[in-house]
């Protein structure tokens, strides 16, 4: 079977996270011939991962490299298509989605010389402003937040961003039987265009929720640019959810967003992440000291402050309890990492909190503790929890994202941002050896039953066969 696997900014140019997942998938299904398409910022990078033999081609779609414009007549058609696209993306009705689709279909049509981009060097500011003015008039009667003003500078910025976002339309995929978009958004844009051009069906995997991440990522834009780009991404996400032949979120938690935005529930199949049980063999021994281990990147979303604040509550019951924090400090997070150290110092816990930095194998980090902790305020389906369960370590986690459904009744789940509750749960496990061991054994059994790599691969093998 020939499958195009479309990624945005991840496999094979990055390591970890989604890239690791893709690497497992491609290597785990050697019978599939994969044609990789990577949407990248700019071209020219070398893959960060060695590609297995069943990867037949690697195509890149750079978003920010210079692009060849279409012919003069092609550009005139593109302006008309963009007008439809803008009109459709700003509304919320079925007619609006249809207009957005019509605009996108026109831009995806292979009527121009290969490799030329439909909107390169085309000014779409005027149709955007016209569509915006009409949408604001309509919004006046609605009960949702009205569209903000779109200044001329905003409009130029939005036109430019949309033009670049649509760059992948210019790249043609090799002939394949199935397209696997590894996210909504731009990856699915490629899959949509391929489906319209050749009738190739597509499967969409959602690790996080692309649309939600766009909402959370729109930090520095002006109100007008933010509103316009979020409307664009919302319209694109809805269209992709509607057109995908099968949608595979990694948790039921993420499934809600797909269904809310128009995915047919019957087409949504949750396929959980999996890890290799052999790589995360059960830990039979526990350290002598009552240590809570945590592994992840040092990031505000991981809410280490809550974990550190929980330690005094733990030590009220277990006086020699310690925290073992393993993980890198990503670029830009040095200040947050320092705030964690300062908090530990302020609480008089510097000697009880070990920041051990990155580790090569998370199993070693779990081995350092009797209990594995996850204090995040936002998660999808965290590998950390699955790996801890696979290693037979009892877990205490916050009730965020798909965590509760992942651990089921084999771990303790507490509300996020509640140091007292977190501390009490940890202390209870540290002091109750039999319960801790029972949860650890239950977690291992649950992980082996539900979250193995083989099961994940098998699910995709079946999905491919079903859709292709």
């Amino acid at each position: 079977m020939r499958i195009a696997l479309v990624n945005e900014g991840t496999y094979p140019y990055a390591t970890g996270g989604v890239s690791t997942w893709c690497d497992h998938l491609v290597r785990g299904l050697p019978e599939v011939d994969y044609h990789l398409m990577a949407i990248v910022a700019v071209d020219g990078a070398r893959p960060a991962l060695a590609l297995p033999d069943n990867v037949r081609s690697l195509t890149t779609a750079p978003l920010w490299d210079p692009a060849r414009p279409a012919s003069r007549s092609g550009r005139r058609r593109a302006v008309r298509a963009a007008a439809l696209l803008f009109e459709g993306m700003l509304g919320d009705t079925a007619e609006d989605i249809a207009a957005f689709e019509a605009g996108l279909r026109a831009l995806a049509a292979p009527t121009r010389p290969r490799g030329r981009h439909p909107l390169a060097e085309v000014s779409t500011v005027d149709p955007l402003l016209a569509a915006w003015a009409r949408a604001r008039d309509r919004d006046g009667a609605g009960d949702g937040p009205p569209l903000p003003r779109l200044t001329l500078r905003d409009a130029a910025e939005v036109a430019m961003l949309v033009e670049h976002a649509l760059r992948p339309l210019a790249v043609a995929l090799p002939e394949v039987e199935l397209c696997h978009a590894n996210a909504n958004g731009l990856s699915s844009l490629v899959a949509l265009a391929t489906k319209w051009r050749t009738g190739t069906p597509f499967v969409m995997t959602e690790h996080g929720v692309y649309l939600r991440e766009r909402y959370l990522g729109a930090v520095h834009a002006t109100a007008g640019v933010k509103a316009a780009m979020l409307r664009f991404h919302r319209a694109l996400a809805r269209l992709a959810y509607a057109e995908a032949d099968l949608i595979a979120p990694v948790t039921s938690f993420n499934r809600r967003w797909a269904v809310r935005h128009g995915a047919d529930p019957a087409k949504v199949v949750v396929v959980a992440n999996g890890v290799d049980p052999a790589r995360f063999a059960p830990l039979h021994d526990e350290p002598d000291a009552p240590v809570i281990s945590w592994i992840g990147r040092i990031d505000p979303l991981k809410d280490l402050h809550t974990l550190i604040r929980a330690l005094p509550h733990i030590r009220a019951t277990v006086p020699d309890a310690r925290l073992h924090l393993a993980g890198p400090v990503p670029p830009g997070n040095a200040e947050y990492a320092q705030s964690c150290r300062s908090l530990a110092a302020d609480l008089g816990l510097s000697g009880a909190v070990d920041f051990v930095g990155p580790v090569a194998n998370s199993r070693n980090a779990f081995a350092a503790g009797r209990v594995a902790a996850l204090s995040s305020i936002s998660e999808g389906m965290p590998y950390t929890v699955i790996e801890a369960m696979m290693c037979a370590r009892a877990t205490v986690s916050t009730d965020v994202g798909g965590v509760a459904e992942t651990v089921g009744d084999t771990g303790v789940v507490v509300p996020p941002r509640d140091p007292a509750a977190f501390g009490a749960a940890c202390a209870a496990l540290l002091t109750d050896t039999s319960r801790r061991r029972a949860l650890a054994a239950g977690g291992r059994a649950r992980a082996v039953a539900r979250y193995t790599l083989d099961r994940c691969l098998s699910a995709y093998r079946d999905l491919y066969a079903q859709v292709a």
């Binding site: 945005e8 900014g9 990055a14 996270g17 990248v40 910022a41 700019v42 071209d43 020219g44 978003l63 920010w64 490299d65 210079p66 060849r68 000014s123 500011v125 402003l129 949702g144 937040p145 003003r149 779109l150 200044t151 001329l152 500078r153 130029a156 036109a159 670049h164 976002a165 692309y210 939600r212 991440e213 766009r214 909402y215 959370l216 990522g217 729109a218 930090v219 520095h220 109100a223 640019v225 509103a227 780009m229 979020l230 919302r234 809600r256 505000p300 979303l301 670029p331 830009g332 997070n333 305020i377 936002s378 009730d399 965020v400 509760a404 509300p415 996020p416 941002r417 509640d418 007292a420």
Partner: protein, 469 residues
């Protein structure tokens, strides 16, 4: 220039991690002060569960008022809630809402709409940019100033070693700087500096072979030609990579050495300038990115403009200057920073207009007014040149008109009108260098006509809204 838009589109120069992970962590509200169920929630013994939920909802609405007011829709509030740890169970348990989306909707409805305020005018502060503009102008003029200082020596060398190298360097600087800026957008300063280094290196090698081919004797011709190319290479690198200030120190050394006629010291200062300007090329933080064929063609157009400017500058300003620093250089040296400042003011006014206006028609009127102001400055040489005729030496009159033509070329290039810019420089270059032409009188007539034609073309370009996108 590629802007940085965390979260809206992948924008990093290189793919490092997810393209969505642009170095900025996703936002979370961070203002939800009360964890749920929270000891801080108001608890009254006689409150019913519904009343408690209502109190919590009211408290949350206060916490999230700003976020809700700025939200595009319900989903944005829901995303923020989820990123702050609120899931469907929390929404049901603590707020008696069916789920996160319903909770987000309830919060949005509680936040009163406020009247929309006009967008505040925003533009980078003018004063630091003016200083930077003057520094850039000083660097830009350095090769011409030094050439003026050694114009007699240049004229004694074989044509291709003296004036020829000046033209090659000027053309190379214009063309390669265009490619350098393209490269800068994707590969950062290191990538741009490396491209310039390779480009000027190749140019120097080719020029050296040409000199050897025509039999220029070693070493003077080679040294002077090489020094000119190195000077252009250094200045171009500093301008493209934005390291003007530190390069200015090296340039000042060059000026000083040239003023005292110390050839050895001038070469040493040039070496310092070259090293300083190309420091970014050694950075390990180089991005990636290819330069396509289209930018190469465009760069060719810029190189033609540069060559024309150099020829005109040599013929009108430098040639036959009888060993003195030519007086005719003064109009060009004065005009370049003045026109740069004028364009800076013009851009500042336009930036402010774009940031506050949402009506293209109103903007066109505003752009026309601002352009009229800029045009008044651009027209000064076209008025002053004829006024000086008969009073000042013909070479000075021609130089004044040349300054006007340079200014108009700059405007046309800045507004993406390479064709008219090439014509504005190319036609006078061809006419002035005709063997039968009497250089100064021909130059005065030709450049006056060029100014008269170029002014309305430049005005039209400045009024065009598309040229600001």
């Amino acid at each position: 220039m590629r802007p940085h838009h965390p979260g809206l589109l992948p924008s990093g120069p290189a793919v490092d991690g997810s393209a969505l992970d642009t170095g900025h962590p996703p936002r979370f509200i961070g203002v939800v002060r009360r964890p749920w169920p929270a000891p801080a929630f108001p608890r009254t013994d006689d409150a019913t569960p519904d009343q408690l939920a209502e109190q919590r909802l009211a408290a949350l609405a206060v916490d999230l008022a700003d976020a809700c007011r700025a939200a595009v829709d319900v989903d944005e509030v829901a995303a923020l809630l989820e990123a702050s740890g609120v899931n469907d169970r929390v929404a049901q348990r603590a707020y008696a809402q069916p789920g996160v989306f319903a909770l987000a909707d309830a919060l949005l409805r509680r936040v009163p709409r406020v009247a929309e305020e006009p967008a505040p005018p925003t533009a980078p502060p003018l004063r630091p940019r003016a200083i930077s503009t003057l520094v850039r102008a000083a660097l830009y003029l350095t090769p011409a100033v030094l050439a003026a200082g050694v114009s007699t020596e240049l004229s004694r060398l074989p044509v291709l070693a003296g004036p020829g190298a000046l033209v090659a360097g000027w053309a190379g600087a214009q063309g390669l700087s265009y490619l350098g800026y393209v490269r800068l957008n994707t590969a950062g300063p290191a990538g741009a500096a490396r491209l310039l280094m390779a480009g000027f290196g190749a140019l120097a090698a080719v020029w050296g072979m040409v000199l050897w081919w025509i039999g220029v004797p070693w070493p003077t011709g080679y040294v002077v030609a090489g020094a000119q190319l190195a000077l252009f290479a250094a200045v171009t690198a500093a301008l493209v990579t934005g390291k003007e200030l530190r390069a200015l120190g090296g340039a000042a050394l060059c000026w000083t050495a040239a003023a005292f006629g110390a050839g050895g010291w001038l070469l040493a200062a040039l070496g310092v300038l070259l090293v300083v300007a190309y420091l970014p090329a050694w950075s390990r933080r180089s991005g990636i990115g290819r330069v396509g064929i289209r930018p190469v063609f465009a760069a060719g157009g810029h190189a033609v403009i540069g060559a024309g400017q150099a020829v005109l500058c040599y013929v009108i300003v430098l040639a036959g200057s009888a060993g003195q620093v030519p007086l005719a250089a003064v109009p060009v040296i004065v005009a370049v920073p003045l026109i740069e400042l004028t364009l800076l003011w013009h851009q500042h006014r336009i930036t402010i207009a774009l940031s506050v206006l949402d009506d293209p028609v109103v903007f066109r009127h505003r752009a026309a007014r601002v352009s009229a102001g800029s045009l008044a400055v651009l027209a000064v040489p076209a008025v002053a040149g004829p006024a000086l005729a008969g009073v000042a030496p013909p070479r000075l009159v021609a130089a004044v008109l040349l300054a006007g033509a340079f200014a108009l070329t700059l405007v046309l290039v800045a507004h993406r009108r390479p064709g008219p810019a090439m014509a504005l420089v190319g036609v006078p270059t061809a006419l002035v260098t005709l063997p039968a032409a009497a250089p100064m009188s021909t130059a005065i007539v030709v450049l006056l006509v060029a100014n008269m034609i170029g002014l309305p073309v430049a005005y039209q370009a400045m009024c065009d809204p598309a040229s600001y996108r």
